[in-house]
Amino acid sequence: MQSERVLIVANSVYQLLTAVHMKRTILENCCADLIVTDVTPQLKETVPRLQNTGLFARVLFAATLDLSRKYAGAKDPVLSEGFSNIDRIFRWALSDELGDYTGVYFANFDPFVRMLACRFYDRPCPFYWYEDGFSSYVIDYLREDRAPINRHTEGQKIRDKVESVLLYAPRLAMRGDRLPNRALPKICREDEKLKEILNYVFAYKRLEGGADFIFLEQSFRAEGLKNNDIDLMRECQRTVGAGRFIVKPHPRNPENVPMQLGLTRRYPHDAPWELFLLNEDLSDTTVITVCSNGALTSRLVFGMDMNTVMLYRLFQGRVLWKEDEILQRYLHKFYMQFAGENYYVPKTVYELRSILKYLGGM
């Protein structure tokens, strides 16, 4: 199997965690190159440490954020110009030359990955779409009416290349794109070696000054969406008591509004959420969120059954997702089939109060 050489692309901490996990499990016997991108700026500093782990043959850095900005929503002429200059673009964006691969693993259908698909279109190199949280379960990214790039001759070539989708919980998939779903093994929290690697890669330090109730903020403000998430935070804080409640701000939101409003003290840690889940004893911790993927990660990735309160039924405001209805169905399916004993979806603010009190609130 060592003759196989694969490429993995990771845009986020979540994807990087899965990339490391895949390399240690389903790609254990493959030689693998890893590309981390600037979509999540902090990934750049992980490159040397990733290299030091010896897991990957090479670790490349790619500046793909500008590519996404330029091409993700672009019209035909701009797209044609981009796809006709792939080699040139790659030389500017990548920290090293690409090799020949027998498979490519990616998590987002961004312009960079589509260009990769064009680059390897005529070669025996299937693409595997690996999970990026619940969007991988609910969104048909390649549907033609979603974006011009999906209708562009080159942009849609990736459709022919994707062989399957790798998901932690394939039975929850409901994208409707007919791509076959395959299971990714769950990450074992007791896997000390993995923990050691990831802690090293992300230079993880133990969390101090946490709280019993952690509210995962989402990027609604960054998207300019009016909503009631602050009211929900206030309700939670009142119910559980200020000292036991903390808001983990979303990195994309320009300001820490919850902190400015006195709803939370400063979140004491900038370590990736997944690392936090992997390292800390969370038996007495409750995660609260509107519908952040982070709250589902513990179940999807680690198979944990931690106290989770999803507030999407109480959320008022436009939702980011066009596939709102599918997202709702997914969340419902998740709740019905996957959620476990400690997963709560309050339907009224009164029920929320009762749940928080039951989980140890005042």
């Binding site: 339907k347 009164y350 029920e351």
Partner: protein, 586 residues
């Protein structure tokens, strides 16, 4: 037989029976009106029904003064009907008559009616009735029939005063097999049916009987025992001569209609149940088919009413003192389901309810059982800590009702529903779901509120709401606290307070005072608005618009508040002062 002044024993033509109970201020007037009768051959039987005022002494004085005419019987209190029966046992006259001790009769009454009876060999002779409205200082005459010759069928169907005992004289032999029942409406139960069985009836078209009608008498005030009227109607229906069934049913229909829509609206639910009991009779009645007014009664047949069945669930504790007594007083005909921990075998309860019981969450189990009985049988859940009053009868006209306990919470002290109601079914179903309500054994009031928010858009604001034309929600003053606004149907009674005081939760008190203030401000706003700007305003005020209230809704609420104030006693009393103030201003 009686002794006249010259000791000659003569035949007694009419025995006048006067039941006496706590009527010291009226009794002399009544007795004097009989003594003044032109009919000499009479006797007066005063039946003192255990009076505790000066009435017994007044009776005795009359007997002393008129030993040849007046006979007094003292007996323990048993009610009007029993007192009349006692009088009947003692009566010796050829005919008997009844006089209520607060009414009077005209001097010619018994002579004229006796003459008529003898002339026509009548068993019963009746006259007209003059009603004197005491507080209003006016009177009116109610004719018993349109012609002197009585056509019995027509009289039963279209006559008046048929249920009265007092505007008639009766051949004494009629009473050998008839007696009054012990109930509030003994007249209705007996007299009209007796008439159907008595072919020879005479009529003197004169208003001989003076009926003094006052407020706060048994016939004008609402007490729980009034449901007796239905038993009386039942007796009338069942004991009448079957050949007059059509007329009897129509006669009852008219009385029912009057009672349901005018005089005893509070008991409407009870009347509807009666109507349904004899549905076939009413639907097929030929008189009703022609009477467009009274046939509106038939519309009530489609209306469902919550049964007068109280469900009291008390696990491991007795029903508190006073609960049953107060219930019996206002709801004497109600069924009580008294369910303790042995009423439902534990194994028949859902798993989580069993678990709740084993872990000591007794209230959780109690509330489940109450809900289940409510679903199976319909009725009203009345927790041991709560006391209902007569007003609760009104709520039976809904299909399902709940009330706020404060501005957010609903009370489970008192709520009701029809048998098998789907909302109760759905609530029961939630006991099998994996929810916080079952995990944390949350109180039923939380479950109901959240259910209604989700499925019926309940607004948790403490205000009255009708949800999807099905679920009625009442103010805290209706089912939790008596705020003395005349609306209360049920109140908490588990907090001991001195006589004349009431315990009210802080939240309710605040909510109440906020509402009073809000109403007052609305009122002031309306009073200060010029009429010209009031009429053509089609857009809501900025404040109202911000609150999501339409102009029409605002107008309606303002009108309501203004009417409340202007109809209030204090507003009326101070009207002259305000007029003077305006005069001085000018």
């Amino acid at each position: 037989m009686y002794k006249s002044n010259n000791d000659r024993v003569e035949k007694i033509k009419v025995s006048v029976i006067i039941p006496v109970y706590q009527v010291e201020n009226y009794l002399e007037r009544a007795v004097d009106s009989v003594l003044a009768q032109t009919l000499e051959e009479k006797e007066i039987i005063l039946v003192d029904d255990g009076s505790e005022d000066a009435s017994p002494q007044i009776c005795d004085r009359y007997a002393q003064e008129h030993p040849e005419l007046i006979h007094v019987i003292h007996k323990p209190n048993e009610g009007l009907g029993m007192a009349r029966n006692t009088g009947l046992d003692a009566a010796r006259g050829e005919y008997v008559a009844f006089l209520d001790s607060d009414d009077t009769v005209e001097p010619e009454m018994y002579a004229a009616m006796y003459e008529k009876a003898i002339a026509e060999d009548d068993d019963i002779v009746m006259c007209d009735v003059r009603i004197l409205y005491v507080e209003e200082n006016r009177s009116s005459v109610v004719s018993s029939y349109t012609r002197e010759e009585v056509d019995l069928s027509d009289y039963i169907a279209n006559g008046n005063n048929i249920t009265y005992s007092v505007n008639k004289i009766y051949r004494r032999s009629l009473w050998e097999e008839n007696r009054y029942e012990k109930m509030l409406f003994e007249d209705i139960a007996l007299i009209p049916a007796l008439i159907t069985r008595t072919p020879r009836i005479g009529y003197v078209r004169k208003a001989f009987y003076n009926y003094y009608r006052r407020a706060n008498t048994i016939s004008t005030s609402a007490v729980g025992g009034m449901v007796d009227i239905l038993q009386a109607f039942r007796s009338f229906m069942e004991t009448s001569d079957p050949k007059y069934r059509e007329e009897v049913v129509y006669c009852i229909a008219k009385q029912l209609y009057w009672n349901m829509t005018q005089s005893r609206v509070l008991f409407q639910a009870d009347f509807i149940e009666f109507l349904k009991e004899y549905k076939g009779y009413f639907l097929l009645n030929s008189y009703l088919a022609k009477d467009r007014t009274v046939q509106r009664l038939l519309d009530f047949l489609d209306k469902e009413v919550i049964p007068e069945r109280f469900i009291c669930v008390h696990f491991g504790r007795p029903i508190p003192e006073g609960y049953l007594e107060e219930l019996r007083e206002d709801f004497p005909g109600a069924q009580l389901i008294d369910a303790d921990e042995h009423s439902y075998p534990t194994e028949q309860l859902p798993e989580n309810v069993q678990k709740a019981l084993s872990e000591g969450h007794t209230t959780y189990a109690e509330e489940y059982v109450a809900l289940r009985i409510l679903f199976e049988q319909g009725g009203i859940v009345l927790a041991p800590e709560y006391r209902a009053n007569l007003n609760l009868k009104r709520l039976r006209l809904g299909r399902i009702f709940f009330g706020f306990e404060d501005d957010e919470a609903l009370t489970t002290g008192c709520y009701g529903a029809l048998q098998g109601h789907y909302v109760i079914q759905a609530l029961l179903d939630t006991y099998g779901e994996d929810t916080i309500f079952n995990k944390a054994f949350l109180p039923l009031q939380d479950r109901i509120r959240d259910f209604l928010i989700l499925h019926f858009q309940l607004k948790a604001n403490g205000r009255k709401q009708l949800l999807k034309k099905e679920v009625q929600i009442y103010l805290p003053s209706v089912l939790a606290y008596d705020m003395q606004d005349g609306e209360n149907c049920c109140r908490r009674a588990d907090i001991p307070v001195p006589e004349g005081f009431a315990a009210v939760s802080e939240r309710v008190l605040k909510m109440w005072s906020d509402r009073v203030l809000e109403n007052w401000n609305l009122y002031k706003q309306e009073k200060s608005t010029k009429p010209s700007s009031r009429g053509n305003a089609s857009t809501p005020t900025p404040a109202a618009a911000a609150a999501g209230v339409s102009r029409q809704e605002m107008d309606r609420r303002i009108r309501e508040v203004v009417e409340n104030y202007e109809n209030s006693t204090s507003w009326r009393i101070t009207r002259p002062l305000r007029a003077l103030g305006r005069l001085f201003k000018k």
